[in-house]
């Protein structure tokens, strides 16, 4: 039995403020779309199974694993990647500066996912979303909260201590 032919579909997405319309194989993940079709290679393919977080992007403002998201299923979505974090003048996002300041990486492969995840994670705290370590009191950005909420982003170099400090710095924790 021969393999069935690929199926194609048209998808329109806004990526870092730019609108793209493409015809894609329905099997294409958002991660492969970004990396292979739009040359946005900041988002990294670590495990391709949703277990490492290196591909974390923002879909309509919410963090998600781009490897497990089919592009056709997100037609019309607004996507933000690590390439969109810095200002148009090239000024780094506060989290990017804090990661450099705190030496929050070694090889850097997980860093784009860590950054996108952290941006959305701080917004989730502001929105009052609880985590598994949130008690009865209103949500506060403690280091315990940061560690729990960033558990979907693995760092094989083990830079976790400095990643937490970089995020805590931006969250204005003492």
């Amino acid at each position: 039995m021969s393999a069935p032919p690929p199926v194609h579909a048209e998808v329109t997405l806004t990526v870092n403020g730019l609108r793209h319309s493409l015809v894609l194989d329905t099997r294409t993940s958002l991660l492969d779309l970004l990396r292979e079709r739009l040359d946005l290679t900041g988002s990294k393919k670590g495990c391709d199974h949703g277990q490492c977080g290196a591909c974390t992007i923002l879909i309509d403002g919410r963090r998600a694993n781009a490897c497990l998201a089919l592009a056709v299923a997100h037609d019309g979505a607004r996507i933000e990647t690590v390439e969109g974090l810095a200002g148009e003048d090239g000024e780094l996002h506060a989290l990017q500066s804090a990661f450099i300041e705190h030496d929050a990486f070694q090889c850097g492969y997980c860093t784009p996912g860590q950054l996108c995840s952290a941006v959305a994670m701080l917004e989730e705290i502001q929105r009052g979303w609880p985590s598994a370590v949130t008690g009865e009191d209103p949500v506060a950005p403690t280091r315990a909260e940061i560690r729990e909420r960033m558990s979907g982003n693995l760092c094989r170099c083990g830079a976790y201590v400095n990643i937490v400090e970089a995020i805590a710095d931006v969250a204005e924790m003492p």
Binding site: A3, D25, I59, L68, L70, G152
Partner: protein, 328 residues
Amino acid sequence: MRPFDYHRAADPRAAVAAVARRPEARFLAGGTNLIDLMRLGVEAPELLVDVSRLGGGRIAETEAGGLLIGASVRNSELAADHRVRDDYPVLAQALLNGASGQLRNLATVAGNLLQRTRCLYFQDVTKPCNKRSPGSGCPAIEGEHANLAIFGHSEHCVATHPSDMAVAMVALDATVHLEGPSGPRTTPLIGFHRLPGDAPDRDTVLHHGELITAVELPPLAAARRSLYRKARERRSFAFALVSVAAALELDRGEVRDARVALGGVAHVPWRATRAEEMLRGGPLTEERAHAAAEAELAHATPLRDNAYKVPLAHRLIVRTLLDVAERP
């Protein structure tokens, strides 16, 4: 990955019709499990019918005083809902103890119920597995089964259901709302997942083409005093070795209603009815919590390498019950 057609359904009935007429069609919601299984070759659908935008994204209060949770409500939104956090804390905690922030933003309520086992053999298409390929055998019985079932397994399958959310929902007596080729129906969540028996390929009582449209939580006095606790190999972002959902209704120190359900121990979210019976009608003391745990775990049938789950579940039940009793 096998090429597939992609279709976005206009409404639940159209989605059901589209899947029902093609045996190799699947519903797609968040995709966090299905896309992964397609990449592994475990699933190879010829058609995906996207049901994530069918308007099932709301949480509504029912006339009875419970909650009707739309099938495509994201796990993160359900966990953040104040009605869930206040009236069913065990459910919010179970959700927040599952997966990662990124996955919870994609994963839906219905998809969470329907996720497949993480048994290594099921996920590896080079290995036999009765769940994936009926009749091929179960290497887990003699092989890697340290994190598999201690209750309700069969000679054909020893897999566990991986969900945390379902464990809380089964303790809360949730009802599953379905749309199917012959119309809508409801079914209790207890009994929705099947024990493996001689047909481990069937995880649930769903027929092909049946679609979950909502999950209903009844009003439940015990639910306000409830906790979810999970033992795992690392502190966060790992499946349960054993988990416990517990809820108590106390009346002047006496247990009027007790709910105990276990995760990570069976092919289904395991309602510990024997433990519940032991708890009702007396004070919640440490001795009685031990007796309740013992009543349930006396019926465990651990495998060669997972007997550790019996004392682990025992201690987790006792500790969680004592902590629930101390909640205001």
